[in-house]
Amino acid sequence: MKKVAVVGVGQTKFSGPQDKTQVELFAEAATEAIAESNLKPKNIKALFLGNALGDFEEGQGMLASYAAENIGCMYVPANRYEGACASASMAVRDAFMWVASGYYDIVLAGGIERAATMGTGMATRTFAMFSDSRYEFPSGITFPGVFAMLTYLYSKTYNVPIQKLRERMAKVSIQSYRHGSVNPRAQFFGKNADMTVEKVLGSFMVCTPLTLHDCCPFSDGAAAVILASEEVSKKLTSKPVYITGTGQSSCGPLINQKDFLPRIRSREISSQQAYKMAGRKPEDIDLCELHDCFSIASLIASESLGFFEYGKAGEAWEKGEAEIGGKVSINPSGGLKAKGHPIGATGAGQVYEVARQLRGEVESENQVPDAKIGMTDTLGGDCATIVNIILERGW
């Protein structure tokens, strides 16, 4: 396998409902990534694009081919990836595989979503399509509902009183809001830096016990990354960020994950694949952009990734161990909670953040000191698709 580098990244601001089309959003992110890579669209050999719900957002299917043609990547293979909220990470991982194999030397990967444009009712309906349509959705389960049920299960399994757990979860949201408030491309840039436990617990109840401030927003946005072989990358940049490990795992409906929940077995398997490929351990990771679609999701993810003991992640957040410069800096970008969650683009947005962290290019308040090794973690559906990517400085 060849070594593969991220040679350029681009991203739109993540936002609420806005007027640009999906193709226009992606073009903004992709052209930024292509320019940063000192490449031209004609150099791109293939496009791998995450997009979960474009059909419902604009009535647009087969988005990848339109997105490629729109930016001048003519007649290249253009594939859509759909794995709910993990779509873009699947696209980046497969792009990595194709470049590592030697078949392509330069691939554009990324994602687009206009989830916010759909509005809350339609977004709630379409996100629920990632639960089992025959055996779960008839109950009226929603996406936040899945993580609400995991919250009670977490409380019971690890014997953390629910009120204590909710306070710890609130502190996760508070940390994410603070980071997002200084990230200019975050949906909540300039907002919510003064969030308190009382405000989180007292906000609108979405589904017990999750309030509005426990939940990530619906978002519009796009992100793009250029992957190149080591040989090509050396000609393009003095700061190649190497992808040193990846993993992906899937499983079925939530009810069939009964032997492990609230542990996410597919995440344990996926992250172990990534650690093994990279020759790294959880304690080697300087920062992790992980899938905090809900505050409880941060705790669950950080435990399955091996950063904290099962049932103890809430305490770790309280002690500052997940803060910038802590044991592992978690979501210095603001994460899905504050940066936003345009689902089909989210994973590429995480790679964008980690690459810029390793290159020392983020706002000084959010910069992880001397960051050398970063990781992404993306979850799709009822914990049914997980992708992990480890990235390291190549200079």
Partner: protein, 136 residues
Amino acid sequence: MEQKLYFKDYNEALKQNKLLGLKCRACGTITVPPKMACRQCGSPDMEVTEVKTDGKIITFTTIFVGAEGRESEVPYTVVIVELEEGPWLMGNLEGIDPKAVSIELIGKKVKMSTKVFPGDKYSAGETARPVFSLVN
């Protein structure tokens, strides 16, 4: 290969308050709802069996923001129930005040009946849904 129990037959039985599952001839595990391979060992060598509907609540939530087309149903309580024979089933909890639920629900014994979700324009028809109530 034919699946031993299809959604259609499972659904028709569920409407009659009868829960069908699949018993694995290799490991004995009961798989509900139906699928091609045993949820435990992956063997397709399973036979249709009627599954006992008694169980206990594993977890729950009361939903205040519903999907488009189901807004009028809120608030409602969703539960995961562990059936006596092992499998987990997702359904609703009725006969309680959904606004007054608490973590004390976990572990409570329930019995099952069913209602029908009539479906929406995306759902390819109606689907029976388990409805649980507390056993005193």
